[in-house]
């Protein structure tokens, strides 16, 4: 992006967001802005608060303190009715998929159309099929969600999130657990949506390759704090140790000595067996 920041239209503004679960502080005074038409990737280790941040951004949870503005509106002051109106312009693909288990995949994907438009059944079916084709799930309309694999559920959830061509799209770990081919085709889809529809997209992901492929900017979260916000190159060039650790895939505590670890495992299991 070469435009000066002042000309960019902010779609999401987060100001000093702090949140607790019980007495545990999960997000620690976070501020960030997402501009129209950009792909913002949120990265960070497991448990760093990515999903929690996302749930706050879409108004499902209320912060202990701080402000969130979505499409120019402060979501703290919005009525239920205003939120409903706002949600028609927003698509969300949850980390777990969250398809309705009592409906077929096709019905799941058509549900937003059925509820918010007056399209006839045939048109809705065609639109659903198109979105399913895009995520490589054509022909699975009539299956129940319980009959899909984890990766297929994620893709179906993605199709449902974009069925209304939202202005703003949130995806929580869209490509986690997908094979590389499907994962990169999902990345391409995200880029196409951005270019063709000028969609603003917030993606939470663990996958570095995917993040670097799609991101305009990256926010790196660590234990509820923002380590940095910047372009792919900024993040790559950062000399912050935690960020370099993350980039070198040292997300979690690593196993330093595999042999010793294995020995410990087998030793323990032998001990278990000898007790029997």
């Amino acid at each position: 992006m070469t435009m000066p920041l002042s000309e960019l239209e902010p779609i999401i503004e987060v100001i000093d967001l702090t949140t607790h679960y019980g007495s545990r502080k999960i997000l620690n005074g976070i501020s960030l802005t997402v501009h129209k038409g950009e792909v913002m990737v949120i990265m960070g280790g497991s448990g760093s608060g990515k999903s929690t941040l996302l749930r706050h951004l879409i108004g499902l949870e209320h912060p202990s303190s701080g402000n969130i503005k979505l499409l120019g509106q402060d979501i703290r002051n919005m009525t239920e009715h205003d939120m409903t109106q706002l949600y028609r312009k927003v698509g969300v693909a949850f980390q777990s998929g969250a398809l309705f288990s009592s409906m077929t995949v096709g019905e799941n994907i058509m549900l937003p159309l059925r509820e918010h438009t007056k399209l006839d059944q045939k048109t809705m079916e065609i639109m659903a099929r198109l979105k399913l084709e895009v995520v490589n799930l054509a022909g699975f309309e009539d299956l129940m969600p319980s009959e899909l694999s984890g990766g297929m559920l994620k893709r179906a959830a993605f199709a449902r999130a974009v069925i209304m061509d939202p202005v703003l799209l949130f995806c929580d770990e869209p490509s986690a657990g997908l094979d590389p081919v499907v994962s990169s085709s999902l990345d391409e889809l995200i880029l196409r949506l951005k270019d063709a529809l000028d969609m603003t997209i917030v993606v939470v992901t663990h996958e570095l390759e995917s993040a670097f492929r799609i991101a305009d900017r990256i926010t790196v979260l660590d234990k509820g704090d923002i380590l940095t916000i910047g372009t792919v190159d900024d993040v790559r060039a950062s000399d912050n140790r935690r960020i370099q650790d993350l980039l070198n895939r040292h997300f979690e505590e690593e196993i330093l000595d595999p042999d010793a670890y294995l020995a410990r495992l087998t030793g323990e299991s032998e001990a278990l067996f000898s007790q029997v």
């Binding site: 499902l60 949600y87 309705f100 009592s102 937003p112």
Partner: protein
């Protein structure tokens, strides 16, 4: 002095936990009232908000709650009718008043047994199922998904079940009335040597519209209670699959309790 890091004396802890429990009940009561209010809102003004309550959803819930419950309601009703007739004749024989049994059975079935037994059956069948469905949707983020699609979960999930219950529980109760009275008739006609026609004639003559309305009115309230208790418990789920089992059981116990207390209250207010 009490300080935060010193444990409370035991009696204060007791009072505190008592306070917490009663706060929970008051909260549930408030939540129930608000659910009812919201449901009425969506039924009346849903279409103006472009959030219509769907007829198909209501019909499918009516099938689930009502039609599929017919066999069990029939079986239990006919048994209860027979039992009341046997007990009634046996008890009244001592006074030489066994011919009054029709009256006693008719009143107790229509005013008390049919509504209560139907209510309890539906609480066990549909109240639990509703709590299970709702709590599963909660832990799978499906309720969140509804929200962010701009679909109000009360309108989409609660209202169809509520309406179905408000219609089907009274209808099932009416059916239970008929089946139980016929069941009682089977025994009474043979024991007293009267014809079925005479028995039915007597029953109709004894029963006033007020009695029938009393029973059906109560069952209408029961239908609402079962739904609300199901929602309150279902939406309070924490933890995974274990939590679902927990709230499902609790929904049944609570709704049976609610039915019996409501029954007592209504009878006390209307019959004294």
């Amino acid at each position: 002095m009490l300080s935060p890091d010193r444990p409370f004396p035991l009696f204060l802890q007791k009072i505190e936990s008592l306070g917490r429990i009663s706060t929970k009940w008051v909260n549930s009561l408030g939540f129930g009232t608000s659910l009812l209010y919201q449901s009425v809102f969506w039924i009346c003004w849903g279409s103006r908000r472009k959030q219509q309550v769907r007829l198909e959803a209501i019909v499918s819930q009516m099938m689930e709650v009502g039609i599929l419950a017919l066999p069990i309601v029939s079986l239990v009703s006919i048994t209860i009718g027979l039992m009341l007739a046997i007990q009634g004749i046996d008890a009244l024989k001592d006074f030489g008043a066994e011919h009054q049994v029709t009256y006693g059975v008719a009143l107790s079935v229509v005013r008390e047994f049919a509504p209560l037994i139907t209510g309890i059956l539906i609480a066990g069948r549909s109240g639990s199922a509703f709590a299970a469905r709702l709590s599963t949707m909660m832990i799978n983020n499906e309720i969140d998904a509804l929200r962010v699609m701009g679909i109000n979960p009360v309108r989409f999930l609660v209202v169809p079940s509520l309406v179905a219950m408000m219609i089907m529980v009274p209808l099932l109760t009416l059916w239970a009335d008929i089946v139980a009275l016929l069941g009682a008739g089977l025994y009474i006609t043979t024991a007293l040597g009267i014809s079925m026609g005479t028995y039915i004639g007597q029953t109709i003559a004894y029963l006033g519209t007020a009695d029938a309305l009393h029973g059906l009115g109560k069952s209408f309230v029961f239908g609402i209670l079962i739904t609300l208790v199901g929602v309150i418990n279902g939406s309070s789920v924490t933890g995974g699959a274990e939590g679902v089992g927990h709230v499902t059981t609790r929904a049944v116990v609570h709704s049976i309790l609610a039915l019996i207390l409501a029954d007592l209250l209504i009878v006390f207010l209307l019959t004294r």
